[in-house]
Symmetry: C2
Subunit: 353 residues, 2 copies
DNA sequence: CTGAAAGCGCTTACAG
DNA sequence: CTGAAAGCGCTTACAG
């Protein structure tokens, strides 16, 4: 079943069939209805590739999850399936939110994962092969981005999430970020309000924008409150649970015990919880813990984690807006968007006297 | 940049360029190399739509997540973004596993979500529009499946996950399921081995194959061990946390207290934990809890949940194998596959005397 | 081994 | 308002 068949059935030309499909204005109501009826009756769907080839948009958006952990190991070396994205609890909700939002906007979505620098060409090829009209890139550190944007065609429409625009912006890439700075600022204000003065930090991966900004904001907040930045109270993590665990142990081993610790994401808070419990300390009685992300799991931790909510659906929505506006050649006012965050208070932080 | 340009540059015909791209055998090494060099140098990627139109596969697989909660509400009525798939912790890992496996097999993947019966046409259209070569369908209850398979073309290659083949199998659909029966069987054996005799159950959605089989297996296991099936110890849930909570409350309110409860998935175990704690009971001292799925969160519950591991990557792998074999017209021996499961013992079940 | 040409199924100026 | 025709960028018999 193709447009020629439908044309024959209805007794019009393929041009006319095409015109009603594409909602051209100058079709008499009667003709339009006849065609629509046949389309429905014969269950006809226009071939997407043919439409694309004839110049239409592919009406699909791409999402590229970059998860390069180890630049020495190319993809084909990774043998354990379980190690792949599957285990990545952070990106999943974003992917899902993005799919939902795209589907709502009548767009299909093509998802690809990238595990090594060698696979960065996938992004370029998806554009060059004309599979997608636009794409969102998430999860990379700044090193990868510059590479990507170097390869990519200047009119491949893409928005990057969590990208440091200062360095890479060639004027061609859009970005959406969350208000990392404000979130951490609020978090520390809250801790101070609760009476905490000895606040430790476990940083995220400082090669990622979120890791960098959150740490900067932390330091600024301490300064603002006239609190000391004790070197023993800084542990450098990388957003993984294990680094949270090790970081917390390092801090606890320093002898001086902080009354509160800010972990730069929830995943590291899980590790920190474990270390704290191993030291026989209780949360929040002995030490308060504050996370960041409000990940799905945070509410189920014991005690439920006080953290900073990041709306993944909101990020997805902003990304898609930027993408669609750009695809439709709309005037874009702001190629950078920032999504707000807010503290969610649970039971892992207590007031001290 | 298209194949004609490359042809001109190298000094051959488009046919030849196409032949090297598609790895035809009879090309002299020298010619092949020249063409490849130009392709690389000019960063040429063949237009996917054109290839598709000329008869090639689209080399993309579809994944349709069916999440029809409420047949009265069509999709456009759902206003709260947060309610969508985003919150669905069960499908996410499967989606990710499927993407990873497909990407490895050099396939792209198109993801779509379906929130109401009105959207079931999406599956059909993806095939008819020739966007995908095959698809996996997950998350539906039997009611939806029969509808889907009715609409769908007999040669749309699809595998259904968690589908009751007895009813719907028209001989055209493939399926992969986990060994629900064996998993529950082992789970109850384990509980009995621990000395439990009064075992309660919170069922899943009995309209889903997994819900149905898990409950059947539970009943059979009790029978096999000569244990009574106490009506007060049965609560009918639907796989959601809240139904686990309500179910557990109902069981606890019955007066007689079971020594163990089997919740048909981990999500309901979360709810059950909450109810048990509200009753001032301790896990596993007062009551043992056994889940199913080994979801990401189960290890972080307090106490860590004893459950049955389901390998989502394995399910994804099986689905893709079936799909690819079918796409490549390979002889398919078994159109049904079953993935094994195994108990993972943690601290929510204790031995009683 | 390789080129000219037809064909895949659409859309869209163009002409009427 | 509508049809005939060109063109999108490939692949693949066909002929040599």
């Amino acid at each position: 079943m193709n447009s020629k068949d439908i044309a024959k059935i209805v007794g019009v030309s393929r041009s006319t069939v095409s015109r009603v499909i594409n909602n051209y204005p100058d079709i008499p109501q009667a003709t339009r209805e006849k065609v629509l009826k046949a389309i429905k009756e014969y269950n006809y769907y226009p071939n997407a590739s043919a439409r694309r080839l004839a110049g239409m948009k592919s009406s699909t958006l791409g999402i590229f999850i970059i998860d390069i952990k180890d630049n020495e190991k190319p993809h084909h070396v990774i043998e354990n399936n379980e190690d792949l994205l599957y285990g990545n609890s952070y990106f999943s909700p974003f992917i899902n939110a993005f799919i939902d939002q795209s589907n709502k906007a009548q767009y299909h979505v093509l998802v690809s994962t990238i595990y090594s620098s060698d696979e960065l060409w996938k992004i370029q090829s998806a554009f060059y092969e004309k599979r997608i009209d636009g794409a969102v890139i998430i999860g990379s550190s700044s090193i990868d981005y510059s590479k990507i944007f170097e390869i990519m065609d200047k009119d491949s429409i893409t928005v990057a999430v969590d990208l440091d625009m200062e360095k890479e912006n060639t004027g061609t890439v859009m970005s959406v970020n969350i208000n990392n700075y404000g979130g951490v600022s609020d978090a520390i204000d809250y801790l101070v309000e609760l009476g905490h003065k000895d606040i430790a930090v476990i940083t995220g991966d400082l090669n990622k924008l979120s890791g960098k900004i959150r740490f900067e904001s932390f330091k600024d907040a301490l300064l603002r409150h006239g609190l000391p930045l004790n070197n023993d109270f800084i542990a450098y993590g990388d957003f993984t649970e294990n680094s949270g665990y090790e970081g917390m142990k390092k801090i606890l081993a320093s002898g001086k015990k902080p009354t509160a610790v800010f972990t730069s994401n929830d995943t590291m808070a899980i590790g920190a919880y474990r270390a704290i419990k191993e030291y026989g300390l209780k949360i929040p009685e002995d030490i308060s813990v504050m996370g960041f992300d409000n990940s799905y799991i945070s509410q189920y931790m014991s005690p439920p984690l006080t953290t900073v909510n990041v709306s993944l659906p909101e990020i997805a929505k902003c990304s898609i807006e930027l993408l669609l506006d750009s695809i439709n050649n709309k005037e874009i006012k702001n190629r950078q968007k920032t999504v707000n965050v807010q503290i969610v208070k649970r039971n892992s932080c207590k007031k001290i006297v």
